[in-house]
Amino acid sequence: MNYRYCNPTLLLLMCVAGSALAARTDITVGMVLEPPNLDPTGGAAAAIDEVVYANIFEGLTRFGPDGSVRPALADGWEIEDEGVRYVFSLHPDVTFHDGSDFTADDVKFSIDRAMAEGSTNAQKGLFANIDNVEIINPEKVAINLKQADGNLLFNLAWGDAVMLDEASAGDAATNPIGTGPFRFDKWVQGDRIEMVRYDDYWGKPVKLDKAVFKFISEPTAAYSAILAGDVDAFPNYPAPENLAQLDADPRFSVVLGSTEGETILAMNNAVPPLDDIRVRQAVAHAINRDEIIDGAMYGYGTPIGTHFAPHNPAYLDLTSKNAHDPDAARALLKEAGHETGLSLSLKLPPPAYARRGGEIIAAQLRDVGIATEIENLEWAQWLEQVFKAKDFNLTIVSHTEPMDIGIYANPDYYFQYDNPELQALMTDFGSETDPEKRTGMLQQAQQMIADDHVNGFLFQLAKTGVAASKLKGLWENSPTQANDLTAVYWDE
């Protein structure tokens, strides 16, 4: 061996030169679903936020990677009049991608637009408690509430509450103009969306200068795209069956995180026989969560015993309350007068957790004497039959909105749980601003719905992401549906 070629200084120099040349500044992110449009304030599709949230559009507040609410376009706020008035001071020198200034007018316009009579905002409920928006000066704006509300800062962090400019809001569906670090460039429908760095961004400049979102719905195609290097990252990778293989490959890293998706076996609480708590409890005891997580999700998922995300500090582990116990289930059924067995409809939307999980749950229910009639539905049909018409006994669905335990306080919600005690608790929760008391109330609510066996609580959906191993800064968890690229860079 000739030592001349092993000069350490030379090697180091070569490495430095090499990395300086090789550091990439672009990224291609794979997504399963293409967003139908790009206006996060005009549709419910998660894919919209997965493209635009924090990249193109920003709100007054935003979610951080850990789910905490952080300042965004508002760099500070004061809470006045015992929580019914929030005064926000806006970040100065913020411009929209078309060059116009972001001011208090835009805040008023955006929130008024979302609250308006004919608004098509999918989360209009977030704004229900807002009385009016008052412009104090171009850099100061007050939001006056109908009653004290500890949720306001959280609500304003949603993608549905981002800031738009009056001049461009109408075209946001196809030409989104926001204040974020990336500017929309082009959309090849059915294939990809491209965005480029916005050089006049007010905040910390991003390291990437180009980001492409590519839409690949077929799991096998996603796998080949990752292997062939056509996409650099797949934050919600659709083929859990080959995650182990990708993890063993040094070119890729597999990141497992949590989401806000509580996956439940929802029961129709208002229609016999599931209006009987004994029958609901029997169903709960018939379920073996580990079997479902292993069988339907290839082991990815955290068991839950109530409708709450395990990574939240207020979470209570109540899985023992509704643990797998077929004998108890049979006894309860007998007590409820169903010893000869009973038959329930089980309506399944398209995702794999529902279709694969449904088969396993059907087998588990059969074991305790409950026959199920499985019906596979498309999303549109599911919304119509199950969600709207409440024509079902059982269904499986993942509730992906953050902190959505409040749905249990709505007796008209599709599983039709009507408990005045919980409703009163959630009303109090809405106006409580003391963090400690809020935590206590959330835990009380978790207990209540677990005690009442409102639904079968299955597991928290895992976020299974795959990325090139040199790619850093992607979100590990999914506190909201987003692919925030602001901190992403290539470490080469």
């Binding site: 419910a44 196809t174 294939d191 590519k214 195609a221 398209p350 549109a380």
Partner: protein
């Protein structure tokens, strides 16, 4: 010839009218409201009502049908509910992928099938014939998506010659675009070529024993000359029919291959639109496909008349 064309055109128009009615009715009957789909689970009823009004879904069925048909006659296919862009533009974008892909695949399959079919027919019963027949058997039996996956594993993942899918876009150059269509075209072409080879061979064998072939040989033509000059032309009608069917299939039916290679083609557009209850897109695209299929059939009919003069002079 004119009379023949006229009769075909009337049939074409009638097909289109009936098809438009069926398409509209079938799609309207399918449950699922586009507005509630778009707004999701947390939407409030007044929000859904507002969106329904915005999309024009609150009008009566008859009105919407008439509106749709009269729009189409003006070349206005309506505006997609979900994408909020004109359907015509969306379809045009997708056609720029689907049409070249279909032509590419059909060209490949013709280039394989014609020589292979002729060769097998001229060597009937010999080793070459059996070999070609064996391969076509395999080509028909192998599902094209599985073949596509094999191509991806070899050429994209192992060798890295092609990307695993996606479409470069014509603005990034003709060669780059054709390159991204190559693996999909090959996977579509092979099963088609297998079928076409068999049709070509059996159709040729049928005419080889006709009287005019004996006459041709008696005139002094070699077997090869007789085959190429006389038999081939007479054997073309079944082959053209199959090609027409295959081409119509390729435009809209490439959906599985489009999914494997994540190509933004027409098939995927329909698939997505059905899931999203983007009714107007589904209706218009299906109608367009009906039109395309009817047109291809019409052109094939015209081509019959061109290869077979007897059809041209048919009178009633």
């Amino acid at each position: 010839m004119l009379h023949y064309l006229f009769r075909r055109s009337v049939a074409l128009l009638a097909t289109l009218v009936v098809a438009s009615l069926i398409v509209f009715l079938v799609i309207e009957v399918v449950p699922g409201d586009p507005a509630s789909y778009m707004l999701g689970m947390n939407a409030q009823p007044d929000t859904v009502a507002a969106l329904r009004a915005e999309l024009g879904l609150d009008q009566s069925r008859t009105l919407r049908y008439l509106h749709w048909v009269s729009g189409m006659l003006h070349g206005d296919f309506g505006r997609s509910y979900t994408y909020r862009t004109p359907v015509a533009d969306m379809v045009a974008d997708r056609l720029w992928v689907s049409l070249p892909l279909a032509i590419y695949a059909l060209t490949l399959s013709t280039l394989i099938a014609f020589p292979a079919g002729i060769w097998a027919a001229s060597r009937r019963g010999r080793l070459a014939d059996s070999a070609v027949m064996g391969f076509t058997q395999l080509g028909i039996a192998v599902p094209n998506f599985w073949f596509a996956l094999l191509l991806v594993m070899l050429f994209a993942i192992q060798l890295g010659w092609f990307s695993a899918g996606g479409f470069a876009g014509w603005d990034s150059g003709v060669l780059a675009s054709l390159k991204s269509l190559t693996l999909p075209a090959v996977s579509l072409a092979l099963p088609q070529a297998a079928i076409l080879t068999r049709v070509m061979r059996s159709s040729l064998l049928d005419v080889l024993h006709d009287d005019f072939m004996r006459t041709a040989r008696a005139k002094g033509l070699s077997a090869r000359q007789a085959l190429l000059r006389h038999a081939l032309r007479n054997a073309m009608i079944p082959v053209l029919t199959i090609m027409g069917l295959q081409f119509s299939f390729l435009i809209a039916g490439a959906i599985i291959i489009e999914n494997v290679f994540f190509l933004p083609g027409l098939g995927r557009l329909i698939f997505q639109s059905i899931a999203q209850r983007d009714l107007i897109v589904v209706e218009s695209v299906v109608m367009l496909l009906v039109f395309a299929v009817v047109m291809v059939t019409f052109l094939v009919d015209v081509a019959y008349a061109w290869v077979d003069p007897r059809l041209r002079h048919q009178r009633r």
